[in-house]
């Protein structure tokens, strides 16, 4: 990589002839340095106007907006490309279209890069890629989170296979860094073709309405090959990636809102996998959130499970991840006694909180992030089971559903489960039951832990008797009541030790805080292996 930094004479400056010109004095060198710096960093007015017309900030403005004031330190400003084909030798590209450096976010150190669309469309050539891989290597070695701002037209075609090599080297490092340092991708412009796989390999993808565009093949190719017409926004805009594909984790209406989300996330996650997330001062939850009033006692009535999460966590401050996609499961970060926890909960308000292909996928990925970064998991259970349907079976709900079982079983961070209401069948097992290694399982008195709901169970068990009864409906109701009394409670599970404690809703925060506190030093040894083979 050393050859990258042997600078060729920069045509933007007075090329000096060392044999004729006298050596420069220090003041002249300083002036020369300032001139070089200004030349490389000052935006080109025409390109800057174009960027602004699209509601986009310049790359440098974006970095400044995310990082703490004056904390950004830039590296490799004078890196130049070495491509001489197709007239590229005459093209001078400041920083080769990408800005790299380090800084802090609310005091947390981060490595950052931002592609600069005003320089050759942010296109990625080898020097551009090597600046990115260098800052990635730094981040991995130093153990600090990596933030990438993507705004690029794609491969720099003039550089041919060297451009592809650059992408490959980035993907390789994204993979090596996975589970070692948190990786955040912010999509603030086009990110198309192979380029999308860098964000896809990172932990969190942020998108902004009307600005972010992600796809493997764009509208033009789709039109030529398939004859289907679709706009960029409808194909791979921010809304689509957040709500339909599940590729994005955070959706914002503006770049400013997006940067606030990034900053907030950084406060919840650790610097690297060897360190726990920085603690915050503990803060009681909002007293207005009363757990006994949030949940309706009838198992078929809905509520917003996020109110339960807010009612137990510090300051009722819950940061939801992938809010718009697979909303039948809720995942996100919160703090308990100042320490970050990952929370997972079924959402009865959406699709009755069932598990399906997307919700299993979403929760499994989140659980693996938490496990990799020493973040304890708190799971709230209230689900009627898996979503039935031909589309689900054909989409591979078996394979995707297995990811959730795998992720929970594999996780060795403290795992605490609270069964709020329904926990039926396979869903009960999947939602971090004792059987998948939960350290503590608590259940509320209204919990119903059974193979299925009383209606369905009674209809199956007493099918023959119901059919021949003098009054089938009265008999059926009687049997439903009987089943409800006997099985629709937490006490059968508690009698078998599958539930550690049946607790009143108002005791939940206390039990969670205590369980987390005593789990602080949890260490679990597993058989040695290179790696598991999860069903993905």
């Amino acid at each position: 990589m050393g050859q990258l930094f042997e600078n060729l004479p920069n045509p933007g400056f007075q090329a000096r002839n060392p044999s004729k010109d006298p050596p420069m004095s220090l003041p002249r060198k300083l002036k020369d340095h300032a001139a070089r710096h200004a030349e490389a960093t000052e935006p080109r007015p025409e390109a800057a106007r174009k960027q602004a017309a699209q509601g986009k900030l310049l790359a440098r403005e974006r970095i400044t907006a995310i990082l703490d004031p004056f904390s950004f330190h830039e590296y490799d400003l004078f890196v130049e490309h070495k491509c001489s084909d197709f007239g590229m030798a005459k093209k001078q590209l400041p920083g080769d279209g990408v800005i790299t450096g380090t800084g802090t976010i609310l005091g947390h150190p981060v490595a950052i890069y931002a592609q600069d669309f005003t320089v050759a469309g942010g296109s990625l050539g080898l020097a551009h890629a090597r600046k990115i891989t260098k800052i990635m290597d730094h981040a991995i070695k130093l153990g600090i989170p990596l933030i990438g701002i993507n705004d690029s037209g794609g491969a720099r075609i003039q550089e041919g296979v060297n451009s592809l090599a650059g992408y490959g080297e980035i993907f390789y490092r994204n993979t090596l860094a996975s589970g070692v340092i948190p990786q955040i991708s912010i999509i603030l412009g086009p990110c198309a073709g192979g380029a999308v796989y860098s964000p896809a390999l990172t932990d969190f993808v942020f998108v902004v309405d009307q600005i972010s565009k992600m796809f493997i093949t764009g509208p033009e190719v789709i039109k030529t090959v398939l004859g289907e017409e679709i706009s960029m926004e409808d194909l791979g805009g921010a809304r689509v990636q957040s709500e339909i594909s599940g590729n994005a984790h955070f959706y914002a209406e503006s770049e400013a809102e997006c940067f606030e989300q990034v900053k907030r996330l950084v406060t919840f996650i650790p610097w690297n996998n060897r360190k726990k997330a920085d603690p915050f001062g503990a803060k009681a939850p909002d007293a207005a959130l009363d757990l006994e009033r949030i949940i309706p006692s009838e198992a078929h009535r809905p509520y917003d499970v996020r109110d339960v999460m807010r009612a137990v966590c510090d300051g009722s401050d819950f940061m939801e991840v992938q809010e718009l996609w697979a909303a039948n499961i809720v995942v996100g970060f919160a703090r308990m006694d100042g320490r970050t926890v990952g929370m997972v909960a079924n959402q009865p308000m959406v699709l009755a909180g069932v598990l399906d292909v997307d919700s299993s996928d979403k929760a499994a990925r989140f659980i693996r992030f938490c496990d990799a970064f020493q973040i304890p998991l708190v799971t709230f259970v209230d689900l009627p089971g898996y979503l039935p349907g031909v589309d689900q079976e054909h989409a591979g709900v078996i394979r995707h559903g297995a990811k959730l079982l795998y992720a929970y079983s594999e996780a060795t961070v403290p795992k605490i489960t609270v069964i709020l209401r329904k926990a039926y069948g396979g869903g009960y097992i999947a939602m971090c039951s004792r059987h998948l290694g939960a350290d503590f399982v608590f259940a509320w008195p209204c919990a119903e832990i059974a193979v299925m709901g009383p209606e369905g169970a009674a209809n199956i068990i007493f099918k023959g008797e119901i059919a021949t009864a003098a009054d089938p409906e009265a008999f059926r109701k009687e049997k439903v009541r009987e089943y409800t009394e006997k099985f629709a409670s937490p006490y059968v599970a508690a009698a078998n030790g599958h539930v550690d404690a049946v607790i009143a809703p108002r005791q939940t925060r206390d039990f969670l805080l205590h369980a987390l506190e005593i789990s602080e030093q949890k260490a679990e040894q597993r058989p040695a292996r290179k790696h598991g083979v999860p069903p993905f």
């Binding site: 289907e228 709500e243 078929h300 809905p302 959406v350 699709l351 069932v354 997307d358 299925m452």
Partner: protein, 108 residues
């Protein structure tokens, strides 16, 4: 909280909201093996059969060019051609019906 949509599972009607994806899901329709549809959008290069033709399973019915490949669409069963929808030069969409076959009764 009042939510009007219901979701029936194991004889229990849950009050909830449905996701857009769930609401828009396509109902399942069993596949009729005699109906040959375009596997990919593309251009019909050649039509090799006409109504009334007897075809054997595996025999090419037509050539569909897509993604720079000439795809031979083969008869899924032994039968008689009842209907041929496209002519050479037609652009067809994915899933568009191209040929209808009637299975030979003796080969069932």
């Amino acid at each position: 909280m009042t939510i009007r949509q219901t979701f029936l599972l194991n004889d229990t009607a849950y009050e909830t909201t449905l996701t857009r994806k769930y609401a828009l899901r396509k109902p399942y329709a069993p596949k009729d093996p005699g109906r040959v549809a375009a596997i990919i959008p593309g251009l019909i290069l050649e039509v090799l059969v006409k109504p009334g033709d007897r075809v054997r399973r595996g025999q090419s019915l037509l050539v569909l060019e897509a993604m720079k490949m000439q795809n031979h669409l083969a008869a899924p069963l032994d039968g008689t051609v009842q209907e041929v929808a496209p002519v050479p030069g037609d652009t067809v969409a994915k899933g568009q019906l191209l040929v209808v076959l009637r299975r030979d009764p003796d080969t069932v």
